[in-house]
């Protein structure tokens, strides 16, 4: 992982990250029912910085400055808030103690990381839908604004704002806490968290019209959350596997689309544009992930991504190994997407006819009949078998299915290739 460059004396994304950990910290001290108040206090601290720093310069320890100002604002707010009356003194004492902690105290740093972790677990509570968990995590732990979340999800602001309001009401009504799950439920709760984190990553990774930097930020935030969990005492090998998987995929973010914004398939990608820092980082976590006996879907997917990353060029890809891992993945997760991705690898090892046979069963599933990826893979295999007319029909049918604009352009290109083959 490349270290974040400093801009104007501030670490990249400092405000966003500080906002997340300060909200998590204050929410623990104030109680998660007062998440809104925690957010408001952090916002106030940042506004004060925005008013003061342009005239007085950035303070030497910017995070400590923000931390102190947010705490002081919280102390004032708690004293004013009558709804907290019986707890006011206790909370003020806690806040004052926390505010006076030395900023370079390693204990405080650890406490803040722990607070963030607790907040992640609460945001990914199984009570919430996945969309809600992602929005809530981005807002509270990630320090994203409603507008930024809406832009990343191609949704409108009102929808996201509504979702957050409902989630906060749910926190209050269900009495969700910031306690870490007990040992017996930790495994399941961790799985919910990893699911949300990977979903967040994929949302950012999916190709959409009008590539926006915010989507890359989404991937990087998912990676950051993954790292945070991987570094904690409750981590399990599958967390490292997921971090490795995300790092390998994120390394290819820039190479995945060309100048015109068109999709570039893995094999045709310019490997010089892969982020070597992220790949090294991926291997570091991949090695950690295989330290135990655990084999999760993330392990299999990370192993596939690692095999691609190890190849020096498109010719160097070890297809038989990838084939073998796909077989494992299919056992762990027999989903249509895995079947389709595996088919492309089957074609490399055993030929397109064999691959075509492997995806045959999907055709009888009415849900998949009009799935663009199934049609695109089928078209690709038919084209390889020189059944060009049938391939063209597949691509044409795929173009009528819902898919993103870059995917549509990709399908059109394939269709043109077919038409060229017919001449």
């Amino acid at each position: 992982m490349t270290s974040a460059p400093e801009v104007g004396g501030l670490l990249e994304h400092l405000f966003r990250h500080q906002s997340g950990r300060m909200v998590a910290h204050l929410a623990r001290l104030l109680g998660p029912a007062h998440l809104d108040l925690a957010e408001e206090m952090v916002q106030q601290a940042m506004l004060r910085a925005l008013q003061s720093w342009p005239y007085h310069g950035v303070p030497e320890n910017a995070p400590a400055w923000l931390f102190r100002v947010a705490h002081n604002a919280a102390i004032d707010a708690v004293r004013r808030d009558r709804s907290l009356s019986d707890k006011t003194d206790a909370i003020v004492t806690e806040l004052s103690r926390s505010a006076s902690a030395m900023p370079d105290d390693p204990g405080l740093e650890e406490q803040l990381r722990d607070d963030e972790l607790r907040m992640i677990f609460m945001c990914c509570h199984p009570n919430f839908s996945r969309d809600t968990s992602v929005a809530l995590s981005l807002k509270t732990v990630g320090g994203f604004s409603v507008r930024e979340i809406a832009r990343a999800f191609l949704a409108d602001e009102a929808t996201i704002a509504q979702r957050l309001v409902r989630a906060k009401r749910q926190i209050r009504e269900c009495g969700l806490t910031l306690d870490m799950p007990s040992a017996s439920e930790l495994g399941d709760r961790l799985d919910s968290v990893l699911e949300v984190v990977y979903f967040m990553f994929n949302e950012g990774y999916a190709a959409h019209e009008g590539e926006d930097l915010i989507r890359r930020d989404l991937c990087m935030e998912a990676l950051r959350l993954g790292r945070l969990i991987a570094a904690s005492s409750i981590s399990m090998p599958r967390v490292d596997a997921l971090v490795a998987l995300m790092a390998f995929q994120a390394a290819r973010l820039a190479a995945r689309v060309d100048q015109a914004g068109d999709l570039v398939l893995l094999e045709q990608q310019d490997r010089d544009r892969w982020d070597q820092g992220l790949i090294a980082f991926g291997f570091y976590h991949f090695d950690r992930s295989i330290s135990g006996d655990e084999v999760s879907v993330y392990h299999a997917q990370a192993a596939i991504a690692a095999t691609y990353a190890r190849a020096t060029g498109p010719e160097g890809v070890d297809w038989p190994v990838i084939h073998e891992i796909y077989d494992q993945l299919l056992e762990l997760n027999p989903s249509p997407v895995v079947v389709l991705n595996r088919a492309v690898v089957v074609a490399k090892v055993h030929g397109a006819a064999c691959a075509l046979e492997a995806i045959e069963p999907l055709e009888s599933d009415p849900k998949l009949r009009n799935y663009y990826l199934r049609l695109a893979v089928r078209g690709h295999l038919l084209f390889e078998l020189k059944r060009v007319r049938e391939a063209a029909a597949c691509f044409r049918q795929a173009l009528e299915c819902p898919c993103s604009e870059p995917e549509r352009r990709f399908l059109r290109r394939k269709l043109q290739e077919c038409d060229g083959g017919l001449l």
Binding site: G8, Q51, P54, H56, V58, S145
Partner: protein
């Protein structure tokens, strides 16, 4: 060299709409401008509306501000050195405050004219 004051007015409520990331971007831009050669001094005015002293019926009276009808308030000032108004305006135009929709008033100070 003559000194000029840049008086920065803006609508404070608009900043509340920025995300942490956008706030950081704004701070970085403002901070970068502050290190330009020619910037001598700067200060932020406190948020409270302040006091206004006026003489009414021969009696000076202090009342609470603001006295402005507009949403824009004076937020802070910079003192800069510039050869003339043209130079001063050039420096002021490059201030991110302008990009963020604020108003900048440029005034030469009396002392530096003599």
């Amino acid at each position: 060299m003559p000194h000029y004051m840049l008086l920065l007015y803006d609508d404070p409520s608009k900043w509340g709409k920025l995300s942490p990331e956008e706030m950081q971007k704004a701070i970085e831009k403002y901070s970068a401008w502050r290190t330009k050669p020619g910037v001598v001094d700067s200060n932020r005015l406190a948020d409270d509306p302040g006091k206004v002293i006026r003489v009414t019926g021969n009696q000076p009276r202090a009342t609470d501000g603001p006295y402005s009808e507009t949403k824009e308030v004076l937020g802070g000032y910079y003192t800069i050195e510039a050869a003339n108004y043209e130079e001063a305006v050039k420096l002021a135009l490059a201030h991110p405050h302008v990009e963020y929709g604020g108003t900048v008033e440029v005034r030469q100070t009396w002392g530096s004219m003599t």
